[in-house]
Amino acid sequence: MAFAPFLIPLTALALSLLLFGGFVSLAGANALEVYHSIYRGAFGTWFSWQNTLVSAAPLMLTALCTALPARLGLIVIGGEGAVVLGGLAAALTGLALIEANPWVALFGMALAAMLAGGLLIGLVGWLRHSRNVNETISSLLFNYISIAILSFLVIGVLRDPETLNKPSTHHIGETHMLGALGESSIHWGFGFGLIACLLLWILYKRTVFGFAVDMVGGNARAARLSGLPVGRIVFLVCLMGGAAAGLAGMVEVAAVHGRANTSLNAGYGYEGILIAFAARHHPLAIVPMAILFGGIRAAGSLMQRDHDLPDATSLVLQGMIFILLLASEAVFAHLARKRGGAA
C-alpha cells in the first residue's frame, strides 16, 4: 500500500471537484468552464502561478501553527491571532527601525513577529499544561482578543492620519520592504514558508527533540517516566507553531501591505487549520496543500468575474475538499482496520 498516502487525497480531490461541479451547475454556471477558470486562475499561466504561490506563502506558515502542536495531540486554532500580533509587532519594529539598515530592519521585524506569535501560542500551551485550559477554546478566544488589540491600536494611537478608508499604521518605508524572488512577483515569504516546512520536518523526523515530542504526544506518562520535561516541551512546540504564524504576519506587512491593518485578519490563520488537517499535520505535505488552497484563493476572483459566481464560491470548494479529505481518511482507516482483522 505504498501509494495509499497519495491515493487518499487524490480520490478526495476528484470527488470534491465533482461535487463542486454539481454545486456551480445549480448556481447556473457551466461546470466544465468553471473548472477551466480555476485551472487558468490558479495554475494556467506564469502570472497565475505567481499569484498562487504568493497566496500559499502565509498559508504554509499558518498551517504549521496547527500542525506542530497536533503532534502533541493539541488542536490549536490560534493561527489567526498569531498572524495579527506578528504583523502588528513587525510593523511596530519596522517603524522603530525606519532609519536602520534594511537588513537589520527586516531581521528585527521577523524576530519581533515570531516572538509575538510564539508567545501567544506558547501561552496557550502553558495554560493547557499547567492550568488544564482547553487549548482549542483558548486559542480561538485569543484570536478575537488579538484582532481587537490590532483594531484598537490602528484606529487609535498608531493610526496614520492619511489612511482614510482603512485605518492603518504608518508605512514601514519602501526600502524596507521584503523583496521578490528573482524577476517574479513572488516575494520572499514563499521562501520562508518552504524553509520553515523543511526545517521543521527535519526537526520532527531526525532530531532528539522530535523524538521527545513524539514521546510526549504519544503518552505523557511514559515521557515523565523517562524524565522528560513535559511542560517545557509543550511550551516550546506551541512557541514554534506560533512563531511560524507570526512570521506569516510579518510577511504580509513587509512584503504586501507595508503597514499593519485589518487586512492581517484575512483568514490565513483559519485556512491554515484546514491545510494542516488536510496534510495530516505532516510538514512536507503542507507545501502542496498550501499551494492547492493558495491556487483556489487566487482563482476566486476569476470565478467571480467570468461566471458571475458569488465571492464565497471558492470557500465552498475549500470546504468540500476539506470535508471529503477528512472523511476519506476515516473511511480508509476503517477499511485498513477491517482488513487487518481483530488480532
Binding site: R206, T207, V208, F209, G210, F211, A212, D214, M215, G218, N219, R221, A222, A223, R224, L225, S226, G227, L228, P229, G341, A342, A343
Partner: protein, 512 residues
C-alpha cells in the same frame, strides 16, 4: 440425554500468518467448573471469543446441548444463555449498581420503571452468591466488588453457561477464594456450567472439576482435576521446557542506603491525601517488598517515584541526592522503574518497539549524535534486546501497541533491566511486574529482579501478589491507607498477620 452444556469441536482461527487456534476441542459438562489453562498466547481467549461469537472461527463448530449452533455475534450467544465476564470491566463507572444491572438487559422498554426494577432485582439479589449495595455508584466500588458485580450481572440474565476470563487477576487471594467458592456452590445448586480461563494452578486444583490445557494454539490435554497433579498440568502447559529454577539469593554485606524516602506525602487525583508522611530506606543489594490491597496508596507512591505525580511534601533521595525524576538524574544515578500496566505507563503505543526500547538513551550516543537521531544504532540495539528478552514478534519496527500485553511487558523489561553499557543500576522500582503473565515469564522476571539485587541495586517491589513479595523480598512492609503499618521479614512472616494488616486491622498501634 447428554450431560454436556457446550461442546467446541475442531475450532481453528488464524490471524494473518499466526495460527491462533489449530483444531481445538473442548467439552463443558453441565453443572461444574471447567478450567481452561495455558500460557500467554496459548489461544485461551481466542477460543472463548470464538465460542461467544466475538470471532468467527475459520473451521470447526460449537454445539450447545448437542445441537449445532451458529453463534454469529455476542448477542446470539446471549440469547442462547451464554454469558461472559471479560478481563476488563465493562461497567459504566458513574452509574449505580442498580442502573448497571438493568442496562445490561438486551431488550429494555422505552421507559424504565425503576421502582419495579429495584424491587425485582433486590429480591433476586438476595439469592445471589454476592450481595452488592444497589445504590452505590460503581466508581466507589473496589476492584473485587466490581468483579462480583460483573458476575451478578450475568447471573441475573439467567445464563446457563458462564465464561470468566481470568476473573481473579484483580482480586486479593481472600477475595479470589470467596468468589470462586461461591461460584462452585452455584454450579452444585443450580446446574450452572462455568468455564474459567486462568493460569493459576492453585485455582484449578482447588475449584475446578475438569481442566483443558492449551499450548501454542493446540489442544494439549484434558482431564478430571482429581486425576492430575500440578506437575502433570505444568508439563502439559509448557511441554518439556518446564523447569523450576530456584532464585539464587546471594548474601550481601551491610550496604549503603541508595533510596531514601523521608516524610513523603502525596495527594490523589481528587486532591485527597493518599500517602501520609511515609518514610522508607532501601539499601543496596536489598529487595524491600510493599504488600497491600490495591488502592492504599501504592499506585501514588510508584507514580511519585516515576516522576508522574508531584509530591505534596517530604523528600526522596537517590544516592544521597535529592531526586525529582529529572532525566539527567535518572541516567546519572542509574534509576530504573517498571511501573504497572506498561502500555499505559511506560510506552508509547504508536511508536515502534525499537523506539520504545530507546526511551532511556535516545539522547545519548550512540542513539544520537549532535542532536540528530541514529536510528540504525537503535535498530541494532533493539534487535539484540528482542532476542535477549524473547519479545514476539521479533520485529523492531512493529508499533509496540500491536504487541500482546505480555510482550509489551517483556519489551519494557528489556529497556529497564537490559543492556546498560556499563552504567550501574542503583535503584529499581517495580510495581506488579507479573500481572497477567504466565509462570515461565514470571520465573524469568523474578530471576532478573533478583539478579539486579545481587548486582547491588536497591529494589523496591510494590505488589498485590503476596506470594511474589514473600518469594523475592529481604524485608516486607505492609501498606494500608497511605501508611506503612507493619514490617517483617519473609522468614518471620505469618500470612494471617500480614493479611490482617493489609485489611487495616493491624492491632493496637494502628489507630486512625
Amino acid at each position: 440425554m447428554s450431560n454436556l452444556a457446550l461442546e467446541a469441536i475442531n475450532v481453528s482461527k488464524r490471524f494473518g500468518e499466526l495460527r491462533a487456534l489449530d483444531r481445538v476441542s473442548l467439552k463443558l459438562a453441565k453443572g461444574g467448573i471447567h478450567a481452561l489453562l495455558g500460557e500467554n498466547g496459548a489461544g485461551k481467549s481466542t477460543l472463548v471469543k470464538c465460542i461467544v461469537g466475538f470471532y468467527t472461527p475459520d473451521e470447526g463448530e460449537v454445539l450447545l446441548g448437542e445441537r449445532q449452533q451458529t453463534i454469529a455475534n455476542p448477542r446470539d450467544a446471549h440469547d442462547l444463555g451464554i454469558g461472559m465476564v471479560y478481563q476488563h470491566f465493562t461497567l459504566i463507572p458513574n452509574m449505580t449498581v442498580l442502573e448497571n444491572l438493568v442496562l445490561a438487559r438486551p431488550h429494555l422498554p422505552a421507559v424504565i420503571d425503576w421502582k419495579k426494577e429495584r424491587r425485582a432485582i433486590g429480591e433476586r439479589m438476595a439469592r445471589m452468591p454476592f450481595q452488592l449495595p444497589l445504590d452505590a455508584s460503581v466508581n466507589h466500588l473496589a476492584a473485587g466488588e466490581k468483579q462480583k458485580l460483573e458476575i451478578v450481572k450475568q447471573l441475573l440474565l439467567d445464563v446457563k453457561v458462564l465464561i470468566l476470563d481470568e476473573p481473579t487477576s484483580v482480586l486479593t487471594p481472600d477475595e479470589a477464594d470467596e468468589v470462586l467458592g461461591r461460584i462452585r456452590d452455584m454450579t452444585r445448586e443450580s446446574g450452572l456450567s462455568v468455564l474459567i480461563i486462568t493460569h493459576k494452578f492453585r485455582e484449578v486444583m482447588t475449584y475446578a472439576d475438569d481442566v483443558t490445557v492449551l499450548r501454542r494454539g493446540k489442544h494439549a490435554g484434558s482431564a478430571r482435576v482429581s486425576d492430575v497433579d500440578v506437575k502433570g498440568l505444568a508439563e502439559m502447559m509448557v511441554g518439556s521446557e518446564f523447569s523450576q529454577t530456584a532464585l539464587a539469593r546471594e548474601a550481601v554485606a551491610e550496604q549503603p542506603v541508595k533510596l531514601d524516602i523521608a516524610g513523603l506525602s502525596v495527594e490523589d487525583d481528587s486532591g485527597m491525601s493518599a500517602i501520609h508522611a511515609l518514610s522508607l530506606k532501601v539499601k543496596a543489594g536489598e529487595i524491600v517488598g510493599i504488600a497491600g490491597v490495591s488502592g492504599n496508596g501504592q499506585r501514588e507512591l510508584v507514580e511519585v517515584l516515576a516522576g508522574q505525580r508531584p509530591s505534596a511534601g517530604g523528600e526522596i533521595r537517590v544516592m544521597g541526592e535529592v531526586y525529582a525524576g529529572r532525566r539527567r538524574d535518572l541516567l546519572r544515578h542509574g534509576f530504573h522503574c517498571l511501573p504497572e500496566e506498561p502500555l499505559r505507563n511506560a510506552s508509547v503505543a504508536r511508536m515502534s518497539v525499537a523506539e520504545n526500547l530507546a526511551f532511556r538513551r535516545f539522547d545519548q550516543a550512540p542513539f544520537s549524535v549532535g542532536g540528530f537521531l541514529r536510528r540504525g544504532a537503535m535498530a541494532v540495539a533493539a534487535a539484540r534486546a528482542i532476542v535477549d528478552f524473547k519479545v514476539r514478534p521479533p520485529t523492531p519496527d512493529t508499533p509496540i501497541g500491536d504487541l500482546s500485553g505480555g510482550n509489551v511487558q517483556r519489551a519494557i523489561l528489556a529497556r529497564e533491566l537490559g543492556e546498560r553499557q556499563g552504567r550501574p543500576m542503583n535503584v529499581l522500582v517495580v510495581a506488579n511486574p507479573c500481572f497477567g503473565l504466565d509462570f515461565t515469564a514470571v520465573a524469568e522476571i523474578h530471576g532478573r529482579i533478583m539478579a539486579a539485587r545481587n548486582a547491588g541495586a536497591a529494589v523496591l517491589l510494590v505488589s498485590e501478589d503476596l506470594d511474589e513479595i514473600l518469594e523475592l523480598s529481604d524485608r516486607i512492609h505492609v501498606m494500608s491507607a497511605g501508611r506503612l503499618v507493619y514490617e517483617t521479614t519473609p522468614q518471620a512472616a505469618e500470612p494471617i498477620v500480614i493479611g490482617r494488616h493489609m485489611a487495616g486491622h493491624g492491632g493496637e498501634n494502628h489507630v486512625h
